[in-house]
């Protein structure tokens, strides 16, 4: 019974997304276009022949990793932090607090409901584009399996960061600045354009201990370049950040929800 209500929330959110198929399709198409542009840039960079591979990674592998990272990153729109901050500012949070549900869990269920249709469609379109551009790669079942686990954890991590940012609205009302910073961090350090696997060693060490590379990138790296040791390293970092951010967002919510009174709801 407890889970059913959140599954229902996810389900109604997914149904809302599917109501406007054109929006859904265009989100996927934009990702596919981005991948095409990035692929052209990489092909131009590598076509000079000076560099054939970086750290044993071919251009095709890089493009595949960036493709999947970009595709998984489709879940960043609509932004959870923005949705929560609007709930707080407009007082829409009142209805959630009136019901026998947890507001953070409601948002989590809503996030998965919103993300699932665009994730499926976006990934499908992106994979088709990447395949047409650079051909396929050797995909192992275990890579897909572990990659899926890392993807679920990565998206959960993204949700927790966005939730924490959104909950800051109880204090600041406008969280767009925090959101902007977070967005730039996951674009630069999260493998959206340049995979951390080809970063200089010292920078790679730092980046791989921050959460940004583990939102969407670590799943794509495991799928394209499966390595058990790397997979376990990514998993440990993800689990650590998920635990830490769960605690942070829990305390932010407990403190923040009392401030509904001060904001007038």
């Amino acid at each position: 019974m407890f889970l059913r209500k959140y599954i229902s929330i996810a389900s109604i959110q997914a149904k809302t997304e599917k109501t406007y198929l054109f929006n859904l399709f265009s989100k996927g198409a934009i990702i596919a276009l981005r991948i095409w542009i990035i692929a052209q840039l990489y092909e131009a960079s590598f076509s000079s022949g000076v560099v054939g591979q970086i750290e044993g990674i071919t251009p095709a592998m890089i493009i595949w990793m960036v493709t999947l990272t970009q595709a998984f990153g489709i879940v960043t729109s609509p932004d959870v932090g923005t949705l929560i901050s609007e709930d707080v500012r407009k007082g829409e949070i009142a209805y959630s607090l009136l019901r026998p549900i947890s507001y953070p869990m409601q948002q989590f269920a809503g996030f998965w409901g919103r993300s699932a249709p665009s994730l499926i469609l976006g990934t499908t379109l992106s994979v088709i584009v990447a395949f047409l551009l650079v051909g396929g790669f050797e995909l192992h079942l275990k890579a897909l399996f572990f990659g899926s686990i890392l993807l679920i954890l990565g998206l959960t991590l993204h949700f927790l960061i966005s939730l924490s940012i959104g909950l800051l609205a109880f204090w600041t009302e406008d969280v767009s600045a925090f959101r902007w910073i977070y967005q730039k961090l996951y674009i630069m350090l999260g493998g959206m354009i340049l995979p951390p696997a080809i970063f200089p060693e010292r920078l790679q060490w730092i980046v791989e201990r921050l959460p940004f590379a583990h939102l969407f990138y670590s799943a794509s790296e495991v799928i394209v370049l499966f390595d058990y040791t790397r997979m376990m390293q990514h998993l440990c970092v993800q689990v650590g950040w998920v635990i830490l951010l769960s605690i942070v967002s829990y305390f932010l919510y407990q403190k923040g929800v009392r401030r509904v009174a001060q904001n007038g709801g």
Binding site: K5, S8, I12, T16, G91, L97, L98, R99, P100
Partner: protein, 258 residues
């Protein structure tokens, strides 16, 4: 009282429960509609939202269907149950919102400005709906409204709050009487009103053949005015009226401010 806001001081108990500490438990027994906010999913039919709420409130399928059929018939929303909420008029949407708040059979319902933005006909329909749920379902309704018409039409008990303090708490019927200081008497004469001079009343409106005079709200003052009018003039019509409840409330707030 709903557990949404946290109190700065004092105690609150709703149905024997503390809204702050027992929010989830209380949630099963209360419902709410906020006039300026929507709880139904905007792009989907109300039926989809109702299904979701039935899960949230842990209603089994049979109870939910029975309850929904009853409410749909009572509030006559059958014909737009499957229409996306964004396509409904404000009045239709409000009826669907009220049904959503009643789906789980709450004992207390909070209606916050449910008639805001509605035209006269829609307001009337919503008032009938509210009266219906109070009388047939025995649901206690907390109605907040800036429309005195809602209060006059529906509330047995009225509480007027000014800057967080209760300035009146009692019967709606007696409310006007307690704060009514004047009565308005309209006189329609068969001759010109030029000669009409009555210093013990205040002329608030004057035409060629008619006058509206405000006098103190006591039988003696009214009798005196009527006696003067009937003795000195030929009258074709008399109307005695009280100030609107809205004016009474506005008077209270002005008085407290001064």
């Amino acid at each position: 009282m709903t557990g949404i806001l946290f109190r700065s001081s004092g105690e609150v108990s709703v149905l024997g429960l503390d809204p702050e500490k027992q929010r989830i438990e209380l949630a099963f027994q209360i419902g709410a509609v906020f006039g300026q906010k929507a709880q139904l999913w905007f792009h989907l039919p109300a039926l989809d939202s109702y299904k979701l709420f039935s899960e949230m409130y842990e209603l089994d399928t049979e109870s939910y269907k029975k309850r929904l059929n009853f409410l749909v018939e009572a509030f006559e929303i059958g014909k737009y149950l499957k229409t996306p909420v964004r396509k409904l008029s404000l009045g239709e949407r409000m009826r669907c919102e009220i049904v959503a708040s009643l789906l789980h059979g709450p004992k207390v319902v909070f209606l916050d400005e449910p008639t805001i933005g509605l035209d006269v006909v829609a307001k009337q329909q919503i008032r009938e709906v509210i009266r219906h749920i109070n009388e047939t379902e025995k649901v206690t309704i907390f109605l907040t409204s800036h429309d005195a018409g809602d209060i006059e039409a529906l509330a047995k008990r009225t509480i007027v709050i000014n800057h967080g303090r209760i300035v009146y708490d009692g019967s709606t019927a007696l409310f006007g009487r307690e704060y009514l200081k004047t009565k308005t008497i309209e006189l329609v004469l068969e001759e010109s009103t030029e000669r009409f001079k009555y210093p013990e009343g205040k002329v608030i409106e004057s035409g060629k053949f008619n006058l509206k005079i405000e006098v103190e709200n006591n039988g003696r003052a009214i009798e005196k005015l009527l006696s003067y009018a009937t003795s000195n003039f030929k009258l074709s019509d008399i109307n005695i009226s009280e100030p609107e409840l809205e004016e009474v409330i506005a008077g209270i707030y002005k008085e407290k401010r001064n």
